[in-house]
């Protein structure tokens, strides 16, 4: 087992690899309580953030990396978001998790919404954060595939001093290639149709679980209309805004985001 990843900082999430379908998946896991599946944003594979740690105080947090992200290699035949839904259903079966709370951030939120619409009986509670996935003409997300790295960072954060601290100012070749590898996986799933599944919106009415939609106050990547539409179409869902944050909620406002998730997900 990879020592660096096993430690995953002071938060102590365990890293395992499981065989799933035709490939393998990396899973970070920590905490005790009811199971919570955390589906990460593009670019956040293999990361255990302070938000994850906070959730692990109340939940058994299971955080797999999507194929092609973090420590999970691409898997033949897993080419689009529908394939990812089947991938995660299989993973839940393998882990013996019949029913889970799902928290999905950004791209992971899209997968979460698709999974909940596909198999509503597997979902205890659903939290979508800054999720693309809907096709709303005139409200198209920022083009994350065309953008330069500088433009992308400018659209991910509200407080630009944060990325200045997190990212190296002059990335080396290894960092550029690593970022390109994950962007390539993301493009494989979401280049066309661009960050949407035209069938998703009318399937959202199938979702049975209590659902919360969280949006950043200053999301420059996915227009808030997407959050409003999710909240409108998922039965009983509510939209909650996290103040002073850009799209990258768990990186920019980890405490406030974790509190919003826990207030909803840990409530009786």
């Amino acid at each position: 087992m990879d020592e660096e990843r096993t430690g995953a900082g002071q938060n102590g999430a365990a890293r395992t690899e499981v065989s799933v379908g035709l490939g393998t998946a990396e899973i970070l896991r920590a905490g005790e309580g009811p199971p919570l599946l955390f589906l990460h944003a593009a670019g956040a594979g293999g990361m255990w953030s302070p938000c994850h740690a906070k959730l692990a105080e109340r939940f058994d947090v299971v955080a797999p990396s999507h194929p092609g992200f973090g420590g999970s290699p691409l898997i033949d035949g897993v080419d689009d978001v529908e394939d990812l839904v089947y991938h995660y259903l299989e993973l839940l079966d393998l882990l013996g998790l019949e029913r889970v709370t799902i928290v999905g951030e950004s791209f992971g939120g899209w997968i979460a919404a698709e999974l909940a619409a596909h198999s509503p009986h597997r979902v205890e509670k659903l939290v979508l954060m800054g999720a693309p996935g809907l096709r709303i003409p005139g409200e198209t997300p920022f083009d994350v595939f065309l953008a330069t790295p500088e433009q992308l960072v400018g659209h991910l954060f509200h407080d630009l001093s944060i990325p200045a601290r997190i990212f190296p100012s002059e990335p080396g070749i290894e960092e550029i290639v690593a970022a390109y590898t994950e962007q390539s996986a993301f493009a494989r799933y979401a280049f066309t149709p661009f960050l949407n599944d035209p069938k998703l919106e009318r399937r959202l009415s199938r979702i049975k679980s209590p659902s919360l939609v969280i949006w950043a106050e200053h999301d420059k990547l996915i227009p808030r209309a997407h959050g409003e539409r999710y909240a409108e179409r998922i039965p009983g869902a509510e939209l909650q805004i996290v103040a002073d944050s850009g799209h990258a909620l768990t990186a920019e406002q980890p405490e406030a985001t974790a509190a919003a998730i826990l207030d909803f997900a840990a409530a009786a």
Binding site: I173, V177, Y180, R188
Partner: protein, 386 residues
């Protein structure tokens, strides 16, 4: 040696605000295209290609690009149709059609077959993947590029050569009845040509199918390495590459003296590389999935500079362009041929914002005083050595 006249058909009229714009493609607004000026350009450029036929170039070449000011040919096949019955000798080369980007590749098989008849069998059919940004404007995932290219290629070849109705099923294409009318004139089909930019996958593909390989603008050192790799790939397939199947593509400007040539060429060469080919967003060239992470790493480690960062003097020294008097050009081409082993040279002679008169003058000097030196190999090696 074979000489081809290659045209990009650039749109050279740029306002000052273009200097602050990062790219010449995809998103430079088409309000900057003046239809009156554009209309004149098409006729001027077609005149130049027709003149190439009259001056004895072995081939005249066009290509496909979308949404860019450096090339006004979203449909190269239309240009071939316009040239077909107004030229008589030269091969007409499409370098090439972007077959990976077509949702219905059979249309390419059909059009090329028609054009083969219109050109009396003078057609050369190039296939390309398309450049990064073209995956944005045609909304095809760049990660499917290589697979779509290979499948479309196999489908088109089968459509040209099959004499029976057939069904086609591959990962990205499904057609239940393929049966093109007309079939091409040339047997079994027009020569296929694949221009490349150093990717090993493309070289192996060309070697496997015994197709010529031609390189686009790059330093001669890099191009030599590509040609060596192509030759090795051919040997791995069990044959020796014919020099004529190795094509060097380069902008060329000729004037009476070296001094005059450099004085006149400089601004136009700078326009081409610094303005026309201004592509200062990484995703415009290599969108996610377009190249493998290993290939991207190779590109980054090779440290190839962006065109904008290469000065005129470096462009000349590194062999991105050939500029000089006819005598100098003969020497340069002879040297490069010896070093790189190409037997086919595609000259871009309407460089950037060059006027028609300058282009024609340079073309004539090249056709009359440079090309003939390479027509009889024995005479040339004697002449150059002495």
């Amino acid at each position: 040696m074979k000489f081809n006249l290659f045209h990009l058909m650039p749109y050279p009229y740029l306002p000052e605000e273009y200097d602050d714009f990062p790219v010449s493609a995809l998103i430079w607004p088409n309000k900057h295209f003046d239809p009156k000026l554009g209309h004149e350009l098409y006729h001027r450029y077609l005149d130049e290609l027709e003149l190439g036929d009259q001056l004895g170039f072995d081939g005249i070449a066009v290509n496909e690009h979308h949404q860019t000011l450096y090339g006004l040919m979203p449909s190269p096949n239309l240009m071939v149709a316009a040239l077909a019955r107004r030229t008589t000798q030269a091969k007409i080369m499409v370098l090439g059609n972007q077959i990976a980007l077509r949702k219905y590749p059979i249309r390419i098989a059909e059009e090329i077959a028609m054009l083969d008849h219109l050109t009396d069998g003078r057609l050369v059919s190039g296939f390309v993947r398309g450049i990064g940004w073209e995956y944005f404007n045609q909304n095809i995932s760049p990660s499917q590029s290589r697979a779509r290219f290979n499948e479309a290629h196999d489908l088109i070849i089968k459509a040209w050569t099959s004499e029976e109705v057939f069904e086609w099923v591959s990962e990205h294409f499904e057609f239940r009845y393929v049966n093109i009318w007309p079939r091409p004139l040339q047997e079994p089909h027009p020569q296929v040509y694949v221009p490349g930019t150093g990717s090993k996958e493309t070289m192996a593909f060309c070697a496997r199918h015994r197709y010529p390989y031609s390189a686009v603008f790059a330093p001669t050192k890099a191009v030599k390495r590509w040609f060596d790799t192509y030759r090795e790939a051919c040997e791995e397939e069990g044959y020796k590459a014919d020099p004529e199947s190795i094509g060097f593509t380069v902008p060329i400007y000729v004037a009476d003296t070296d001094a005059e040539a450099h004085e006149k060429a400089k601004a136009h060469v700078e326009w081409l590389f610094h303005k026309g080919l201004k592509l200062e967003m990484p995703s415009i060239l290599n969108p996610p999935g377009y190249v493998s992470p290993a290939s991207l790493e190779g590109l980054l480690r090779a440290g190839v500079k962006a065109f904008q960062e290469v000065s005129y003097e470096e462009l000349v020294d590194l062999g991105y362009v050939l500029v000089g008097s006819p005598e100098t050009l003969v020497d340069k081409i002879e040297d490069l041929r010896g070093e790189m082993g190409f037997g086919s040279l595609s000259a871009l002679m309407s460089i950037g914002d060059m006027s028609h008169e300058e282009t024609v003058r340079s073309m004539r000097l090249f056709a009359e005083q440079v090309m003939p030196k390479f027509r009889e190999p024995a005479a040339v090696s004697g002449g150059v050595a002495g």
